[in-house]
Symmetry: C2
């Protein structure tokens, strides 16, 4: 029996007759034979690696996306290779270089703001590519995400509709997506004639609960005329809530709080915190589904998938006039 027959049994068993196939499979099982992936890649010029580039491994948003990714890769013949760009465009370029040499079967990159060199590299690489987290008009190949600008608009409108007027924006780790949320906030505030630069407090530091406390303190030291805050993510919102508790600021009566991402803890805080639900798990799943479909040559629908978002209204934004009307829990 020749080597190529074994190779065929392992890769395309339907091309091998049943008796031969069974004998080979028996021998493979008995000897514990497993093909050498390096030799495979070298001979076939394709690997089974799906390269994933994300800016952070500790941010729970990406952790959820990753979980969706692993969930769908599971059971497929592919493997995940993770690259951590740490929010650096140069590191992203470097990692793309490393990944592209490995002839990946597919690539996932975060966001729309790759450097020109990264984009050039991505256009050369001969594999499907999904940009995740955001959507835009010019996908390199495919996209799965939602509009952060629209989400920022929706959250701000929600606070405005609930009767808040002096609505602040707290932002940490101002990456492109955070900036677009801020953009949406600014638009709505201007449209409502409520815009005031002093209401915007941002920092490049990474988002933490502690930072939420600090940013609220910074905000309150600038102006006492604030009656709500849109936090660019939930860590900050929890920090703001803790700080309000300490300062005996009543939420939502005197102060509304809206977070972003709707982490599970938002629903059980006191009061429960309003947030913008994003489909992070689904984002990871869908990205892998698109990659695998394209690798298999199957047709995909639209190359840009909008997973949307949803403002989940909870008591923390019941409104400044809600003191008497609000539910007991």
């Amino acid at each position: 029996m020749s080597a190529i027959t074994v190779s065929r049994v392992l890769r395309t068993p339907e091309l091998v007759s049943e008796p031969v196939r069974l004998r080979v499979m028996e021998a493979v099982a008995r000897l514990g034979y497993v093909p050498d992936p390096a030799a495979r890649v070298l001979a076939s010029a394709k690997s089974d690696v799906l390269g994933i580039l994300i800016p952070s491994v500790t941010n729970s948003v990406f952790a959820d996306v990753l979980r969706g990714i692993y969930e769908r890769v599971e059971g497929s013949p592919f493997h995940v290779q993770l690259g951590n760009t740490r929010y650096s465009i140069l590191e992203e370029e470097r990692l793309l270089g490393v990944f592209s040499r490995q002839r990946p079967a597919g690539l996932i990159v975060t966001g729309l703001d790759q450097s020109a060199r990264s984009v050039a590299l991505l256009r050369q690489v001969d594999c499907p590519i999904v940009q995740i987290m955001e959507i835009g008009d010019e996908p390199i190949d495919m996209m799965v995400g939602f509009s952060h600008r629209d989400a920022g608009r929706a959250a701000t409108r929600h606070l405005r509709d609930r009767g808040y007027r002096r609505i602040a924006f707290l932002g940490a780790r101002m990456d492109p997506r955070t900036r677009r949320r801020l953009e949406g906030y600014g638009e709505v505030m201007k449209e409502a004639g409520l815009f005031d630069e002093r209401l915007i407090v941002t920092t490049q530091r990474a988002s933490t609960v502690t930072l939420g406390c600090e940013l609220l303190s910074e905000l309150l030291s600038r102006t006492l005329e604030v009656d709500a805050v849109f936090c660019n993510n939930d860590d900050l919102a929890i920090g703001v809530l803790f700080e309000c508790q300490r300062r005996r600021i009543s939420v939502p009566d005197d102060f509304g709080i809206c977070g972003f991402n709707d982490l599970e803890m938002m629903a059980v805080a006191n009061p429960p915190l309003t947030s913008v639900r994003t489909n992070r798990l689904e984002m990871g799943r869908k990205a892998i589904e698109l990659l695998i479909a394209r690798i298999a040559g199957e047709p995909i629908g639209a190359p840009v998938v909008d997973l949307g978002f949803e403002v989940v209204a909870r008591r923390s934004t019941a409104g400044p006039l809600a003191r008497d009307a609000r539910p007991s829990t």
Copy 2:
């Protein structure tokens, strides 16, 4: 100029004369040549892959360890290949099989409780191995972690020393490390003559803040005689705090709360929550340092590194008698 000379310039430049070396390097830069990693692995029978097996990518504990890992791998010639075992011993076996075929340069696995087959595989693999998170007496190769049993003992002793008597244990996702913390708790409680089975509430569900609320409710429905709780991690502790706020249970006066891992939010909660600080970042860093040192053939110190832990006492465990004596913040 022959191919082997180029290969030498790239791998062992000190063996090539300066003029030749410079010419080759110039050409490499000009042509943008980069060697094919698959061919390299095939020819040299060694890869630059460090395989990492962790049970979860969403658990922030492992996210921190990962960050330490990426930090140290950065700048080295190695790459991280991440495997997610999802707390399944079988999945761990499978992934070890996949990894070992890639002739990894090093391996990191989580915990001490690998299956017999996994251990056999690990002993066969020709690369350094680090077991992380825990320490024990029989390392497969090397270990970096701390004693969860001792940490459980320390936290329970702390609650006891602060004057709490009816100290409960809340545990989620009862993995081997959680069980050893429970073991430590049980020992101290028995030594103090305080042990009561009804005070132990555990579940296999993954740990969340919401689950902390639920487990506390479950506990209080069993017995009202509880004056403190040791949560097997910080998510639960935060949930317990929120639930106490809702039930108007005064922390720490009527109820003490101690978490585990000391996530950053613990320090800014109301009241600040006591927790057991663990060196997660350092765990990742140290594991990679050990691997790289061994790959380079450098001597390492002891093969088992105890990174320890520390009970960080905050107001949430000031004690039932502290009502008058406690600080104002």
